[in-house]
Symmetry: C2
Subunit: 255 residues, 2 copies
């Protein structure tokens, strides 16, 4: 029997729901009723192994998915077999909200680590948005912030050297993981291989390796065993020319 036993569950029944709510609250004000409505969303939750596709290029999904736990990414494959990762989705994120309005997938979404995902029928989301127009703003904002992150990555891919590109990504992930409580001070779990980082940064695995070594020798960060420690936050920000405006979070602990 397969994993979809719990297709009649509601989001609120899972402990990780707090990450989703927290993420949305970092984006927009939510009333109690709206939060309730969110938690009442019907979901089917699945545990998915690493390196599995959730949605594929050209698919026409009927559900949107929420990341409850794990690292997920959007990516495209080129003819030659090369891969470009276009975003990392961390717990609390909704990687394919867009499929609500763009029927055909123009890219794939897959897990990078073992993940826990909640699938919500599009109809349920549509219904939610009809009943709570304020949530339209929240969800729309979320997709706009996604786009802002794409733009920032474009800057990195187009105009930053490898060193700054890596530094910038590490800064961004600290900010984003903090927002959902997944960072401790200046360190966080970064369960990615160097090859995966390379695919996101438009570099080769070998070069990522060399840059990481350089960052370590410069005393900025240590990345070992899927764990990242930022030893010199100011230095890292400078190396990546990092300015968190594009993340559109409250001027929180961006210290």
């Amino acid at each position: 029997m397969h994993q979809r036993l719990n297709s009649s569950d509601r989001l609120g029944n899972f402990p990780e729901q707090s990450r989703v709510v927290r993420k949305l609250e970092s984006i927009a004000e939510l009333s109690e009723k709206e939060k309730q409505a969110l938690l009442d969303l019907p979901v089917s939750v699945r545990n998915v192994a690493a390196d599995q596709d959730i949605v594929c290029d050209k698919d026409r999904p009927s559900h949107s998915c929420l990341v409850l736990d794990g690292f997920v990414c959007r990516y495209k494959l080129l003819d030659g077999g090369m891969r470009q990762i276009m975003s990392f989705q961390t717990p609390g994120d909704m990687p394919d909200l867009q499929s609500l309005f763009l029927r055909v997938m123009d890219h794939s979404i897959g897990t990078l680590t073992p993940s826990k995902l909640a699938f919500v029928p599009h109809d349920a989301v549509r219904d939610l948005l009809r009943r709570y127009p304020n949530l339209v703003e929240a969800f729309w904002r979320d997709t706009l912030i996604d786009a802002a992150i794409f733009r920032e990555w474009m800057v990195g891919l187009g105009r930053r050297e490898a060193y700054g590109r890596v530094a910038h990504l590490m800064c961004e992930l600290l900010m984003r993981l903090r927002a959902v409580g997944l960072a401790n001070g200046y360190s966080y779990e970064l369960p990615l291989t160097q090859a995966e980082l390379a695919d996101a940064l438009g570099l080769s695995t070998v070069h990522v390796n060399r840059v990481l070594k350089e960052l370590r020798l410069d005393g900025l960060v240590v990345f070992k065993g899927r764990h990242l420690v930022i030893q010199d936050w100011e230095g890292l920000k400078e190396a990546g020319e990092f300015d968190p405006t594009y993340l559109h979070v409250e001027p929180q602990v961006a210290a």
Copy 2:
């Protein structure tokens, strides 16, 4: 006396309104009432010279702008003075719809050619969206397609060589300009300098020049005097590995 005389105009009074309507119709179904409401939007129209900023990084705009005529771009400047252009906006586009929901600009928007722009107060747009929920879907879709284009550019910047990158951009612009009636068969006005192309493609001006020459020698395109002629559409698509899915237009004349 300054240019804003016509601040009490409505969009429908300008002949270029058709481009805006046409653009939106290529994205979503519009009822007659919705089209009417669009045309009744209060606008102040301005003619702007080339190379002028419309909105700057860190601004908090109170209006959204529509491109009635001309080429406009989003861009960011790096510390070293380098520029990354993140999108080209052509007639019919709404480059800063996002400012409705993201208060602070995380990039700048500027003209590349002399342009005719319509500014709509955010309040008027908000009101429109409140009255016509179907337009929410259309506008949201528009911002999602923007994001899809960002993603496709990321692929180019990260994983395509200069040759394919240039080819891909030319394919994309043909499709987009056709959708608003600004292409003739396989040619269109491309009023950009090689330096501007370079800033969009993450290349140096010199290298763009060399690639253009190569494309010409290969018989794919001729770009001369701000005019582009595609001589071998199949070849160009192949060179850029171009697949128009990400533009999310009807499977129109993508022949």
